[in-house]
């Protein structure tokens, strides 16, 4: 456990050390220090995962806090490994990404807050005292806020940052409420004491769970609390979006799993509600992802989708708990938890490759890109791997977790209860729809960005791929996606241990059913390996057999032989037929200038699709808020006498009130 604290403190102070060095060494030194800190933090986590004994250290704080325990159990260890590995990869990548920004005025604060964010996330997933947890949580939110507004000179970045800050504080408000209720009932801030209170009082537990779900769900990005995600991710630099989307939003999921762990057996309606919200989130996320042409917004909406898929896994697991079906519990939770890992891998890969594209072309609008696979072959192939993985297609990792969740849902149908069965049926078709929509979305994103001909000067001017300092971290991530895809048994073995440690009381039941998924995993793994071998043979065969038989020619234009790059299919038209089917779910904002007169000089067409929640719920609320608050405008007169008057009135009210009440 001491190693862990050494690691945390290394991370906390590394940013300040970096300030001492010249600008060319800053990111390099930071990567080195973060690597040291991560290794120190990861050692105890690996120990816990392989030895099976939990670690904990208790500090005696002042009377307010009580005893503060930092502990690493299997769940924490799993999250520690995700946080350390994924953050380290992003930080190494930032060596290349930040090069053009080294003269920026925000660079020093950026390099301070980056390791602080990592350290605070590590503290969040180990802390077992509610008050300390909230402090770490707040540090995490604030440090990520400063990372988001790196390019604070841009107005939209600042706007997105403030939106993020507001959402995070709404989130923390609900978490404080949940924790405060539990603390009042139990008389202590310790998670262990919460457990007793929650398990003895079921209706109280439901209220607390719902409050905590709103709080943690806002962080994770469940619909309808997702609105900050599609704004904050595009605003942040790519390596920060990668950490935020790949790792930080998972702390919200961590909080939810921790709550399930404290509650034990959830109420069935809580489980139903959770499952429904998860299915809606995944559909909503992928649907809006299809509409987006800003690459990073698209990826941000995909985060919502994947959080939804994780939620479906957890929801199925919760149904298994309520109906005492150990196999469904095991499959649901292990699928959900594995998807946390998988999503952090491929989402980080995609965000980093999006960053590379942005660095080379200075645009995030995919409609202006095209043909980049010629200039940036490595980035293109890595993005392709990430796309296939995020669609949940074999032989990559996304498939394994989705397969486990599907298996859990099929077995969940055995629960002989009308409403549960109906919901699971809907979840199955929902997840299938999400999968195919993801294929649509990523075939669009990949092909518009990397294939065909360049659609603008920006894309045509790219001549060289990014350096190794950027491609190697991405390559490692791509390797992870493949390894988990072809060797899922090992991962499942660890997952089993994590799920067992979450529900120690169900250990015996769970151990009995472990063999079923393990055997299936083996078959799937064998299948995946055979597929890869077969494909390799085919590719080699085609290469050698058909070597001299190829003639190159222009693309067939159906008789028209002056096709140019502006006649290619665009992202909007690719998504068009699908979106036309679902018109009522969007708010379309057109910006059209029609060609006028005989010899039109200019004309343009721009279509933007707004988030329906933002357009019909948030904006009216904000308008009302503004209207309501302007009623009090006159109070702020600006002269000091009237402020003194308010102070006097306030004092009088307090004194009089205390006379009556006291």
């Amino acid at each position: 456990m001491n190693n862990f604290f050494i690691g945390i403190f290394t991370l906390l102070f590394s940013g300040f050390v970096v300030g001492l060095f010249g600008k060319n060494f800053k990111t390099g030194i930071l990567s080195f220090l973060v690597a040291i800190g991560s290794v120190f933090c990861a050692i105890p986590a690996v120990k816990v995962l392989f030895s099976g004994t939990d670690l904990a250290k208790t500090f005696e704080f002042n009377a307010l806090f009580g005893n503060v325990t930092f502990g690493i159990d299997h769940l924490s260890a799993f999250f520690i490994l995700i946080i350390t590995i994924m953050s380290l990869i992003s930080v190494i990548y930032s060596n290349g990404y930040l090069k053009p920004y080294l003269d920026s005025k925000n660079i020093n604060s950026h390099l301070v807050f980056l390791p602080v964010l990592i350290a605070s996330m590590l503290a969040v997933v180990t802390c077992q005292n509610a008050l300390m947890f909230l402090i770490c949580w707040e540090v995490m939110s604030l440090s990520s806020f400063f990372l988001v507004i790196f390019e604070s000179a841009k107005k939209e970045v600042l706007k997105a940052g403030i939106k993020y800050l507001v959402f995070m504080h709404i989130s923390v408000l609900f978490i404080i409420m949940a924790f405060a209720f539990m603390a009042i009932k139990s008389g202590s801030f310790d998670f262990e004491s919460f457990k007793l209170v929650l398990q003895n009082n079921k209706s109280f537990a439901n209220i607390v769970f719902i409050l905590a779900f709103i709080g943690f769900g806002t962080k994770a990005g469940f619909v309808p609390f997702h609105n900050w995600l599609p704004d904050a991710h595009p605003a942040a630099p790519s390596h920060v979006s990668a950490i935020m989307s790949g790792v930080m939003i998972k702390t919200g999921i961590y909080g939810i799993i921790r709550m399930i762990m404290l509650i034990g057996t959830p109420n069935k309606f809580v489980a139903y509600g959770f499952l429904v919200i998860a299915v809606i989130s995944s559909l909503y996320g992928v649907l809006y992802a299809i509409t987006q042409h800003d690459l990073k917004r698209l990826l941000a909406y995909h985060s919502i989708e994947n959080i939804g898929i994780i939620g479906i896994g957890l929801g199925i697991g919760m149904l298994g708990l309520t109906y005492h079906n150990p196999l469904v519990t095991l499959l649901g939770f292990s699928g959900g938890i594995l998807h946390i890992l998988n999503h952090s891998i491929f989402k980080e890969l995609l965000f980093l490759s999006a960053g590379s594209v942005y660095l080379k072309t200075h645009t995030k609008d995919i409609e202006t890109l095209g043909g980049l696979i010629k200039a940036m072959p490595i980035t293109a192939i890595l993005f392709l791997i990430g796309s296939v993985a995020i669609c949940g297609l074999p032989p990559f990792n996304g498939f394994v977790s989705e397969f486990l969740i599907y298996l859990g849902m099929f077995r969940g149908l055995e629960i002989h209860h009308f409403l549960a069965m109906l919901l699971i049926f809907l979840a199955i078709s929902g997840l299938a729809l999400v999968g195919t929509m993801a294929i649509l979305c990523f075939s669009k994103a990949f092909s518009i960005m990397f294939l065909g001909l360049p659609r603008s000067e920006k894309a045509a001017n790219v001549s060289i791929d990014c350096g190794y300092v950027m491609t190697i971290p991405m390559g490692i991530l791509a390797l992870f996606t493949l390894l988990i895809g072809i060797y899922p048994q090992f991962v499942f073995y660890e997952l089993k241990l994590i799920v067992l440690s979450i529900f120690p009381s169900l250990k015996l039941d769970l151990v009995q059913v472990c063999a079923i998924p393990l055997n299936i995993m083996q078959v799937v793994a064998f299948f995946a390996i055979m597929f890869i071998l077969f494909m390799t043979v085919l590719v080699v065969l085609k290469h050698y057999l058909l070597k001299g038989k190829v003639v190159f020619h222009d693309t067939w234009g159906c008789g028209y032989n002056r096709a140019n790059n502006h006649m290619q299919y665009t992202a909007s038209s690719y998504a068009g037929p699908f979106l036309s089917m679902l018109k009522p779910l969007f708010k379309k904002v057109f910006d059209i200038e029609k060609p006028k007169k005989l010899f039109p000089t200019s004309a343009h067409f721009h279509l933007q699709i707004e988030d329906i929640e933002e357009a019909y719920v948030l904006n009216p609320l904000l308008k009302f808020d503004e209207w309501f608050l302007t009623k009090f405008e006159s109070l702020q007169s600006g002269n000091i006498q009237s402020y003194l008057k308010y102070g006097l009135i306030f004092l009088l009210v307090v004194i009089i009130a205390s006379l009556f009440i006291g």
Binding site: C391, G430, G452, I516, I520, V524, F531, T555, S573
Partner: protein
């Protein structure tokens, strides 16, 4: 072992015969003599032997996509009960591996179509992606309903519907056959969703996606498409052939069902025109609604007593 080899032979060659039979049926309805039933196979051999022309715009993706198309259908076929009524790999939820493996092939063929930079091919890819996304949920719903009804989580459950649900089972089988038949028309890009024989690129879906493929690539694509149709037809066969028949009889029945399905496809193609593009959705939603009907029947059976 012999049976497995037999399955392989069926998998590789019957798709050509089915294509030939469809063509023959269409010729019959049109009052022509038609080409030989083996013609698709000759075409295949002819295409394999040819050189091919590749667009200068394309990249490595375009080159490997046809290989993915054929490899994914071959690997997906391992989970489907073919002529002998038994799949090569029998695992619970094999349907997921089946569908997602086909999804991989689809993904690659979509991006390969976009790789040429031709707007015609982009149009085809866009439509194909769109239609698939409606087909898949309905298919999953159907299979999940059947699985829970029979308590068997492999594709084998399809052959136990009637025995585990009695009179409900007959209704469910009828609806399920219609659902799978529509799915086969969509996935195999046949009339009324798509018209493989038209010469107008604007109205095509799958055929326009492979406009720039030639020679060996084109041959692989059309073969993969045929195998995909065979796989979905095999699921239909699995439902309608009683599962306890003697092996030889089972194989004969299977071939018979394949023949009937091909004739049915040919008859549908002769009998009706391609639906207008904006109405294709409605046709595919018939499939979704029938899946919902199957689901309700299953739930009625389980809770209604």
């Amino acid at each position: 072992m012999i049976l497995k080899m037999l399955n392989l032979i069926v998998l590789l060659f019957v798709p050509f015969l089915m294509m030939g039979l469809i063509k023959k049926t269409k010729a019959f309805w049109a009052g022509r003599k038609g080409v030989s039933i083996f013609q698709p196979m000759y075409d295949f051999v002819k295409l394999i032997k040819k050189d091919f022309v590749i667009s200068k715009t394309t990249s490595v993706v375009f080159n490997i996509a046809p290989l993915f198309a054929i490899a994914t259908v071959l690997f997906a076929s391992m989970f489907v009960p073919l002529a002998t009524g038994k799949a090569l790999i029998i695992i619970p939820a094999g349907v997921i591996v089946f569908a997602y493996t086909l999804g991989l092939g689809k993904f690659m063929s979509l991006v390969a179509a976009m790789d040429t930079g031709s707007s015609f091919e982009g149009m085809g890819a866009s439509r194909e992606a769109c239609f698939t996304s409606i087909v898949e949920p309905a298919f999953f719903l159907l299979i999940a309903s059947v699985m829970v009804l029979t308590g068997n989580y492999t594709f084998g459950s399809l052959s136990h519907i009637i025995e585990s649900a009695g009179s409900y089972g007959i209704l469910i089988t009828i609806f399920a056959v219609i659902v799978l038949f529509i799915m086969m028309l969509v996935e195999g890009s046949r009339v009324p969703v798509d018209d493989p024989a038209t010469h107008l690129e604007l109205t095509m879906i799958h055929e326009v996606m492979i406009l720039d493929n030639s020679g060996c690539d084109l041959a692989l694509y059309s073969w993969a498409n045929g195998i995909k149709m065979l796989l979905i037809s095999s699921l239909i066969a699995c439902m309608v052939i009683p599962h306890n028949l003697p092996m030889l009889l089972h194989i004969l029945c299977y071939l018979l069902v394949m023949g009937i399905i091909s004739i049915a496809v040919g008859t549908v193609e002769s009998g009706m025109a391609r639906i207008r593009m904006s109405h294709v959705f409605e046709f595919i939603f018939v499939m979704s609604s029938l899946s919902l009907v199957v689901m309700s029947l299953v739930m009625a059976k389980m809770f209604g007593g």
